[in-house]
Amino acid sequence: MNLVTQFAYLVSALLFVVGLKQLSSPATARKGNVMASAAMLLAIVVTLVEQDVLTWTWIVTGIIIGSLIGATAARMVKMTSMPEMVGIFNGFGGGASALVAGAEFVRLQPFGVLPLGQGSTIMLGMLIGGVTFSGSVVAFGKLAGWITGNPVTNKFLQAVTALIFVGLLGVGTYIAVQDPSMVLFLVFIAAALILGILLVNAIGGADMPVAISLLNSYSGLAASAAGFILGNMILIIAGALVGAAGLILTNLMCKAMNRSLANVMFGGFGTEGATAASIGAGDKTARSVDAEGAAMILAYCQSVVVVPGYGLAVAQAQHDLKKLCDLLEERGVDVKFAVHPVAGRMPGHMNVLLAEADVPYNQLYDLEEINDQFKDTDVALIVGANDVVNPDARKPDSVIAGMPILDVDYARNVIIMKRSLSPGFAGIDNPLFYMDKTMMFFGSAKPSMQDLVREVREM
């Protein structure tokens, strides 16, 4: 490998790191993304120059096909479908790395026992890449609603999963150091793919944000493994950066749900549309309010904090919400948005959906930033959120005990826009609904929001 290429890779690595650094502020983030793409382009160009490719047919064909598919997907995808898109893209990244490992195996295999370094990293790359690929396809299927969002797991499947994992380690080691048999290698690939399916299928649809964060991390590690195989530094560095990013996001998501990673992966939680047969409102009564009443309260108060949940995005009501907020601001009301980390279907998803509705980002507040401010807030307006505002999380004996919540019950008034009193994903009752300061504004998010806009406008 020549010196110029190595130097260009170093520049590329620097650009990747600086580009990611720029992502820490919305003002510079777009530039950061451009920097990272430039880093990628540089790495691609120097690689092609160095390899003195004889015939360009396959390489150019591959790049053109891939780029067309990628560009079309990027242009067409709806912002609500970002989790699916990232989910399946993780799979492509992991799959590409696995194929690199496979190709190296096929190339080196005829020469007998593999060199130790290559042998072990080929097997590792194949394992991580294979799991990432099939796992991502399952994650995509769950997010897109093509397969059941319920966790598919039991004692037997867990034992099978563990057995396959141990078997993979054993067979992988054997192939790497003893006998690079093609048959065994194919068995290894099949087992890695099955492992990915079993692992992700065991995770509930509601926990998919954690799963795609983790698969994101794996896709980076798979690229790093490919770098170890080829002794290529830029692959190792870029892969490690992605590995770190995915791991950080995975941790943040687990914390926001107050669950351990092991619990998310093997606990079988996150059943979608949890049934709440055992929950009755009992003798508690909830106070309801109509559009006119809610509009009155909102229009004549001084400060509103909006808490959007995923129900808002499902109903496509974020644009009407934006209209409402504009009207309120014209009347001199201070409007802020409080976004819980798990408000959307992937980390930061709700922020993107609100940005799409032209809500400026300096109006969006994180949990830590906003929680102190609820006590000075006139109205907390909750749209399509439930568990993330359940004050029971503060009680040690609750199912969701310890989950970080938005302290909306400290606001002077609470208006909840919701279809019914039914519970959220956690399947538990929410005492917030029955508080004296709470008003329930029943109805579907979109028409209700439109009614609200009309009422405020007429005021």
Binding site: L20, N33, S37, T47, G66, A245
Partner: protein
């Protein structure tokens, strides 16, 4: 001093890059976590470099299986790179200040 074996150098690079990544990415605010993930996603398409190297080698070795594996790998990775960076840009474009 004897030069270190390549695998050991690679391990140093991997560990240090992971730490650098952790430092930089921890500072990304929750508002930008989705673009961060799709941007990181695009970067994991770096596997394209590996796919190109493997494909170029395959041509010289005239090994048809490797050529096909390389081609599919190039397609996968290109989807990842091009789609990832473009969709990230599309999202970031929407983030505006008042």
């Amino acid at each position: 001093m004897e030069s270190m074996p390549i695998m050991l150098v690679a391990l140093y690079v991997f560990v240090l890059a992971t730490l650098a990544g952790k430092e930089v990415i921890t500072k990304v605010p929750p508002t930008l976590h989705t673009p961060l993930m799709s941007g990181a996603n695009a970067i994991s398409g770096i596997a394209l470099i590996g796919a190109l190297i493997v494909s170029a080698e395959a041509e010289m070795a005239r090994e048809p299986v490797v050529v096909i594996l390389g081609l599919v790998s190039i397609i996968f990775a290109s989807i990842n790179v091009v789609g990832g960076f473009l969709v990230t840009d599309r999202m970031l474009e929407m983030f505006k200040k008042k």
